[in-house]
């Protein structure tokens, strides 16, 4: 077999030389280059989170799902995108021998146009090794500080001073999870296992005081809150396992429950919310989108969605139900005409066009198989 292949190859080379001699003057050797930047246009950032080895943040064209390249943080990565979409922050874990040995935790600052590392430094190795969610790595409103969730399993938040390029403080948040930055100031709100929410403030010198604790807001056993929240002005909105929205004002010293709204009351079929990043909010239309599944039972709160419900946040009512495609996560643009993206359990990104009106209709407008083993989170730059 090898002999036959060699003869064929020699013949091909000989023929090639003949052709080359005939066209030597026209021949221009190709040059190896590197794309300097990604192509222009809006993007979808899709986290393929790895629990062993590097994670990948794949960058897709938001319109055509063109693959533009990726960024490569470490294991169990979290990500946060700057408001202008030009900078991506990741935190991730590096085990010295991949599956064992000493651990370092690195914060990377990525330059999105060139998909390159702008800077990196180590932060506390208490970082939680956990499925990526928006509430586990977030920027304060002035984008001066990063808030990173820790778990040893004792919980705390590492505050990273981006100006100094170093960790500023570790704020213990016992029994609480997630960090939702306040509208202004160096402050965040977190959800606690006793059914309360707590707001923590810190100073530029790294000092911090006691949190402002709310009254009991939800029942962890009867109607637990997902740790995904969307912000509408001074309020954070959370979804509960039973399909209720909880509106919490965190503008004061302590969070205050301002209202609840049932999404599933009177709806047949045992519908309930489910997924990971299961709610997204488009501010220009004041509309929220929620992942839902039917036939809910104890433990189905992470099932992939079979429908996406559109909710008018003015009237706090469901104004549309559309078929889903097994999504676990959602993200929506902040454009006047919203475009919705879903992350499916199979690692696909689904794009939906949104037709607004008295009734909201979602129409699948594209799907891209990322091939991700664990597509955990989507970020958008518009």
């Amino acid at each position: 077999m090898k002999t036959g292949y060699a003869i064929t190859l020699v013949s091909a080379v000989a023929a090639g030389q003949a052709v080359a001699q005939d066209s030597a003057e026209e021949f221009v050797p190709e040059t190896l280059t590197i794309e300097e930047t990604i192509s222009e246009g809006p993007n979808v950032f899709a986290m393929d989170q790895a629990w062993a080895g590097p994670s990948a943040v794949n960058v897709l064209g938001a319109e055509d799902f063109a693959m533009k390249g990726n960024m490569g943080p470490g294991t169990t990565a979290q990500m946060e995108l700057s408001k202008d979409g030009k900078t991506l922050y990741t935190t991730s874990v590096y085990m010295e021998r991949y599956t064992y040995g000493p651990v370092t935790v690195v914060m990377h600052e990525w330059d999105v146009p060139t998909l390159s590392v702008r800077r990196e430094f180590e932060i506390s190795n208490k970082l939680a090794h956990v499925e990526s969610q928006n509430a586990l790595l977030s920027l304060t409103s002035d984008e001066a500080y990063l808030l990173a969730q820790n778990a040893t399993p004792a919980t705390s938040i590492t505050v990273v001073d981006l100006g100094a390029g170093a960790p500023l403080a570790e704020i213990p948040t016992p029994g609480c999870w997630g960090a939702f930055p306040a509208v202004e100031g160096m402050k965040f709100t977190t959800i606690c296992g006793d059914g309360t929410l707590a707001s923590y403030s810190f100073e530029a010198d790294g000092s911090f005081g006691e949190p402002g604790k709310s009254e009991k807001i939800f029942d962890v056993d009867e109607d637990a809150l997902f740790t995904n929240g969307v912000r509408i002005g001074s309020e954070l909105v959370f979804v509960s396992f039973n399909g209720n929205l909880y509106f919490v004002d965190d503008s004061g010293e302590a969070p205050v429950l301002t209202g609840t709204a049932p999404l599933t009351e009177g709806v047949l079929g045992g519908w309930a919310p489910s997924g990971s990043e299961l709610i997204a909010y488009n501010a220009p239309t004041n509309t929220a989108f929620v992942l839902m599944h039917s036939g809910a039972y104890n433990g189905s709160h992470k099932d992939p969605a079979t429908e996406i419900w559109s909710v008018d946040m003015e009237t706090r009512t469901v104004i549309g139900r559309s078929p889903a495609h097994h999504e676990n996560g959602l993200a929506v643009t902040q454009t006047e005409e919203p475009v919705l993206y879903g992350a499916t359990e199979d690692g696909n990104v689904v794009r939906y066009d949104v037709e607004m009106g008295d009734e909201v209709t979602l129409t699948q407008a594209g799907e891209f198989e990322t091939g991700a083993g664990f597509l955990t989170l989507l970020k958008l730059d518009r």
Binding site: Q49, A50, W51, A52, T76, V93, M95, Y98, T99, Y100, G101, V103, A128, H129, V130, E131, Q149, A151, T152, P153, T155, G175, C176, W177, G178, T190, I191, C192, G193, V220, D221, A224, L225, F226, T227, S276, G295, Y297, N298, G299, S300, H301, K302, D303, P304, N328, E345, D346, G373, F374, T376
Partner: protein, 174 residues
């Protein structure tokens, strides 16, 4: 009784759902302690040998390797019994997680609720052919850390790489 029936039915639903979805997901952990208010448990405390364990073995190892097996009711991870270990033992060369999450699962044989400690085994790669289970009965987010199963419970070990998960019955829930 209604509660028991509800849970049994939900278990059947989950068996179908888990079977359908298990093949689509290869790794990662989406879905950790206790409706009964159990606290994070040390691995050293997790070595009970209940009569019930022997019965489970006698009932056949096959069922224990399926996600629908009753004690896997809140297990998000690869079964150690299909990774070189067993229901209650980590594979050779790995280390047992120092902390764990706990589920409350109903044993259909006696109708009783048991506390099941889901310890991760650590310090090795996952086994590609292992059975991946994704059940979340009674599971809660990270603010109830002891019930949370979306996190790597090897977090408190020296060797933190996730390998697989065991289901160890540590007591009666009621």
């Amino acid at each position: 009784m209604n509660k028991y029936i509800d849970r049994l039915l939900s278990g059947l639903d989950k068996a179908v759902e888990t079977s359908a979805r298990g093949s689509a997901r290869s790794h990662g952990r989406r879905s950790f302690l206790a409706r009964a208010g159990a606290s994070v448990l040390g691995a050293a405390a997790l070595t009970p040998v209940l009569p019930f364990d022997r019965r489970a073995s006698a009932a056949g190892a096959e069922t224990a390797d399926e996600c629908s097996y009753w004690r896997h009711c809140a297990l998000d991870g690869n079964l150690c019994s299909t990774s070189g270990g067993s229901l209650t033992s980590c594979p050779p060369g790995s280390s047992a997680s120092a902390v764990s999450w706990v589920g409350t699962c109903t044993n259909p044989e006696d109708g009783k609720d048991y506390l099941v400690s889901y310890n991760d085994c650590c310090g090795k790669p996952t086994v590609s052919s292992a059975t991946f289970c994704y059940t979340s009965e009674g599971e809660r987010p990270g603010y109830r850390m002891g019930l949370y199963n979306d996190i790597n419970w090897c977090m408190a070990n020296t060797d933190k790489g996730y390998h697989c998960t065991v289901s160890v019955v540590v007591g009666l829930a009621e």
